[in-house]
Amino acid sequence: MLAGAAYLYRSAGHFAYAPRPGELGPDVWPRAILALLMVVCASRLFGHLFGIAAEGAAADASVDDSAGADAPRRFPRLLVAGIVLTILYVLSMGTLGFFVATTLYLALFMLVGRYRRPVVIVVTSLVGSLVFVYVFMKIVYVSLPLGAGPFQQLSVAVLAAMGVR
């Protein structure tokens, strides 16, 4: 983070603008923030290197913690699967359209999340997608992606069946 801040600090010096006499440039504010960020990072780094606790240990254990519960078990593969699935959802929305992409995303998300009741998965993902399409296109007036080719035709048919024009 320190290196990144230093790089951004340097690039802030290359903003293209027409200077006005006696006035601060557009680089001053971001550079002030970056300077603060670098100071904080450096002090933390210094603290770690020389074994000085920057703050009380109690501060890290924030009040947000649930009464000192044990550290939870972690499943990194699930996390990676979740992120990949989410990226695929965004990637596919333009082609598959909101309705199809969302139905698949909801169903796969529940499966990846280790939920194993196929009927519930199919029904909730299908009904959920339909409700979202109806609420956002009919009530909130948001134009959700329809997709391309046959998926577009499917989306249009679903919308027509729901009375959304």
């Binding site: 971001p30 970056l34 603060l36 002090s43 920057a54 890290d60 989410t86 999340g113």
Partner: protein, 509 residues
């Protein structure tokens, strides 16, 4: 005062309009549901409701979010007391006496005390918002650019210092938020900043995507990594509430008074929100309460103190939000976002230009308090049944809400990618215990801070001492420095105490 009463009466009339009344009802129910579900935080719930407000008028939109905010401070009490699962971090102190009381076979009484506490805290919060907001706004009319900069700096420093996390991590989070706010074309010179030739970055980073991604998707990813391990709750169909008698409540008036004061102060001070308020109120009771020795064994004082304080913080937060446009918590940052999305800038002038809207919001706070208590008393049984839903199912829908919410703002696929990016950032923050709130507040308040700083520099010939020389800004800047110095002072004192302890233990070892 007559003027205020008259405006408030008009606000109540306005609240009766179908749009406002429906928003209030929906906000109360959804706020309570969000608070009941351990996987959803109150702030996340308010964020996810934001897209539904795009098509609404500004008043119903703010009424909806404020009702969610208020009822959210109450709903989590049910799972804390009955199942020992805090729906919100602010409900953790409720575990300490609420759960033992329920275990003694008095769950209905414990819920009754919670209801009384939420009602009292809510009334206090609504009254104080009405009484304090106008003087606050009149005072704020004297503000010039240096004062605004000082107030924003104080707001941000409060969030950093009192947010509950490590100060350096909070500062890093704040700096990231402030930096994100600088991306895009700058207002003064039209210079492109940190766009790196990417066209979509010219429009800047939408704070909405930062909020929704970091709070919503980030939390979902964090829970996914833990395998959605929260088991569905059973036995939620036996819930009932039994109210205490008036004499019993009167006996605890000192606890109620102390906790109300703590809650209000924690609300007004930026950063010290409902969670901090509820912990401090419990701690105050542990120090000054008549039955302090029995705290933790299931006594009403241990339920009243945190619940009164957490609900009382809401009004405290609403005052600086409306009068200065400065949010002091994650939830009020989202409410400020809703104001801005509807083209309304909160600040002292809002009491003149949008008085009807402001007093309708105040009226909705009174109505919300009554509504959430009625809901808690009569309808909590079906609401708590939501706990039977598997976490994987609710999380899938939360993730979907995040995407649809972000997409709805500008109909742009770029915002969906922003959600993914900030979702991962939010997860990394959660994983490495960096607080998200400073980043979100930095992102929202960054432009205000920069504009007031640059305006001050132009008006006072780049003399930075102006922030300390003018009386109001000087006082606020000193408070800012004190707020930032407080955690360092606390850390030094803790270290000194630890050394003392080591010194006294050493001879005996």
């Amino acid at each position: 005062m007559d003027g205020v009463a008259h405006q408030l009466a008009l606000g109540f009339l306005e609240l009766l309009s179908p749009a406002n009344a429906a928003s209030l009802a929906v906000g109360l129910v959804v706020g309570m549901l969000v608070a009941v579900l351990p996987g959803l935080t109150l702030v996340m719930g308010v964020v996810l409701a934001l897209p539904f407000t795009y098509g609404m008028g500004v008043t119903p939109a703010i009424v909806l979010l404020t009702a969610m905010y208020l009822s959210g401070t109450y709903g989590g009490a049910f799972t804390s007391i009955l199942f020992r699962i805090p729906g919100e971090p602010l409900d953790v102190p409720l575990l300490w006496d609420g759960y033992p009381m329920a275990r003694k076979g008095k769950p209905a009484q414990a819920l009754g005390w919670t209801l009384v506490a939420a009602l009292w805290g809510g009334i206090i919060t609504a009254v104080s918002a009405v009484v304090l907001a106008v003087p606050f706004a009149k005072f704020a009319l004297r503000f010039d650019a240096p004062e605004y900069f000082a107030v924003v700096a104080f707001g941000l420093s409060g969030v950093v210092a009192l947010g509950g996390a490590s100060m350096s991590k909070a500062l890093v989070s704040l700096c990231i938020g402030l930096l994100l706010a600088t991306v895009g074309v700058d207002d003064t010179y039209g210079a492109e900043r940190f766009t790196f030739g990417v066209p979509i970055l010219k429009d800047g980073v939408e704070y909405l995507t930062v909020m929704v991604g970091a709070y919503g998707l980030g939390e979902v990813l964090a829970r996914m990594e833990q395998g959605f391990a929260s088991p569905p709750m059973e036995g939620s169909g036996r819930i009932a509430t039994r109210l205490p008698r008036w004499a019993e409540i009167w006996r605890l008036r000192a606890t109620v008074a102390r906790s109300s004061l703590v809650g209000l102060l924690c609300g007004i001070v930026p950063g010290a929100g409902a969670t901090v308020g509820s912990f401090i109120a419990y701690g105050t009771e542990a120090q000054y309460g008549k039955k302090r020795d029995k705290l933790g064994t299931g006594i009403p004082e241990g339920i009243l103190a945190p619940q009164v304080a957490s609900t009382a913080t809401v009004g405290g937060h609403m005052v600086p939000l409306l009068a200065l446009g400065i949010p002091g918590s994650g939830a009020t940052a989202v409410i400020l976002g809703a104001f801005l999305l509807h083209g309304v800038q909160p600040g002292p002038q809002i009491f003149q230009t949008e008085a009807r809207m402001v007093y309708t919001i105040f009226a909705s706070m009174f109505a919300s308090v009554v509504g959430m208590c009625l809901l808690g008393y009569f309808a909590i049984r079906p609401l708590v049944r939501v706990l039977a839903l598997p976490e994987a199912v609710t999380s899938a829908f939360v993730a979907l809400f995040c995407f649809v919410g972000a997409y709805s703002a500008r109909n742009s696929t770029t915002d969906l990618w922003m959600i993914v990016i900030f979702g991962v950032v939010g997860y990394l923050f959660e994983r490495h215990r960096f607080p998200v709130a400073p980043m979100v507040l930095g992102c929202i308040l960054g432009p205000v801070a920069e504009t007031s700083f640059m305006t001050s520099m132009i008006a006072y010939q780049n003399d930075w001492t102006v922030f300390f020389r003018r009386p109001i800004s000087g006082v606020v800047m000193v408070l800012t420095i004190l707020a930032l110095a407080f955690p360092a002072f606390r850390a030094l004192r803790q270290r000194a105490r630890a050394k003392e302890r080591v010194g006294t233990d050493a001879p005996s070892a």
